[in-house]
């Protein structure tokens, strides 16, 4: 019965839209939108290509607090153009992080939370999107010197392309079972490697390699969480309270390069062989 009760009272995070996600994780009533949809700062490139633009370009950026600590939060709307980042959305994300950096330089300990639901750069905006993602990455590295930059990949879109590198730069990364994290998206790999090697429609196979559970088992993320608003918020509270002293993963590149050098790429990689590689290293 208690299970049924828990089920009836659970609140899925994955099912929420970007703004709802941001509001659900911040202290109640603390969300202050920066460039809300009514500012109508939308992509100037999509309509010229016959694509309907969204008023906030699919990126919600806000200031607020979590457990009373100041944060900037950015949430990408995965349902708009696959969460792709163009010039405007990318600039909003980078700008939010730069605000956090500025706060810290002025003695305000603002942390950053990034809700990543993105296929990476928006192909329709090509280099402008890429440039924006580079700015996002630089800003993450700057802010994480002062305060945690916590990435959350909840799914169902996952986090791919240049933004998967951004996720890798975060000081902390949280995932759910629904999440996927990888440099190239499944369809891109299928197109390059062929259907025999990588069938993007084989969902169990895709999640076994890039899903949240696998990434957690390989130690590539910091927490593997249930799809439940309160659980994710609790983890954010704890992480902000006790960020720990671990070196960011991107500073541990020597260890990862060594793993890569030892990996035998001749046989087809599967979930077990990849886990064995990472876990052998941790033991």
């Amino acid at each position: 019965m208690s299970d049924l009760n828990a089920l009836l009272h659970s609140r899925s995070f994955v099912e929420l839209g970007a703004r709802q996600r941001a509001a659900a994780l911040l202290d109640q009533g603390s969300l202050r939108d920066l460039l809300d949809p009514f500012a109508r700062v939308k992509s100037p490139w999509l309509e010229a290509q016959g694509i309907v633009a969204q008023a906030d370009d699919g990126v919600v950026v806000a200031k607020g607090s979590i457990g009373g600590r100041p944060v900037v939060i950015a949430a990408i709307e995965g349902n708009f153009q696959g969460g792709s980042l163009g010039e405007v959305g990318g600039a909003k994300l980078a700008g939010a992080l730069e605000l956090a950096a500025e706060d810290n330089r002025n003695g305000i300990p603002t942390a950053a939370v990034l809700l990543l639901e993105t296929g990476g750069v928006r192909l329709q905006e090509a280099n402008l999107g890429l440039a924006a993602i580079a700015e996002v990455q630089a800003a993450i590295v700057e802010v994480r010197q002062y305060q945690p930059v916590i990435g959350v990949v909840a799914g169902p879109v996952g986090c791919f392309g240049g933004m998967s590198i951004a996720a890798g730069l975060c000081s902390h990364l949280l995932v759910t079972r629904e999440a996927r994290l990888g440099l190239n998206g499944p369809q891109v790999i299928e197109q390059e490697a062929g259907l025999d090697e990588y069938d993007s429609r084989d969902r169990p196979f895709i999640w076994s390699l890039t899903g949240g559970e696998q990434r957690a088992a390989c130690g590539l993320v910091d927490a593997y969480l249930a799809d439940e608003v309160s659980v994710i918020r609790e983890c954010l509270l704890q992480t902000l309270e006790q960020p720990g002293e671990a070196l960011p993963r991107s500073r541990q590149y020597a260890r990862f390069l060594d793993l890569l050098a030892r990996f035998d790429a001749a046989p087809q990689a599967d979930a077990a062989s990849v886990r064995a590689l990472y876990q052998g290293d941790q033991a």
């Binding site: 839209g17 809300d36 949809p37 009514f38 309509e47 016959g50 694509i51 309907v52 633009a53 969204q54 008023a55 699919g58 709307e77 349902n79 708009f80 153009q81």
Partner: protein, 99 residues
């Protein structure tokens, strides 16, 4: 892609604004802002060409003779069915209503 405009008689301006939905497959984004007393202006940007009649019928069914609040409505549509459009509009209207 098409941009369409519609206008209907309305009552007093709504007291706040609202945003609902998302420009995702089969969905739409609706932005409501208080308008000038007496008029409801709607601008639709839709990915579906040749759908002006369908939008007109839908709005007439909802607003003609219903004395809606005065609003400027912006719709960014990504192929939503009339049922979804109506649902989103009612959701947004509920958010700006004073009840």
């Amino acid at each position: 892609m098409e941009t369409l405009s519609f206008a209907f008689p309305a009552g007093l301006p709504a007291s706040r604004r609202a945003q609902v939905g998302c420009v995702g497959s089969g969905d739409l984004e609706v932005l409501l802002e208080p308008g000038q007393a007496g008029s409801l202006n709607i601008q639709v940007v839709t990915s579906v060409n040749g759908s002006a009649e369908r939008w007109r019928h839908l709005f007439e069914r909802m607003f003609a003779g219903a004395n809606p609040p005065a609003l400027n409505v912006d719709i960014h549509d990504f192929g939503a069915t009339p049922g979804v459009v109506r649902l989103r509009l009612e959701q947004a209207l509920e958010e700006v209503s004073d009840v």
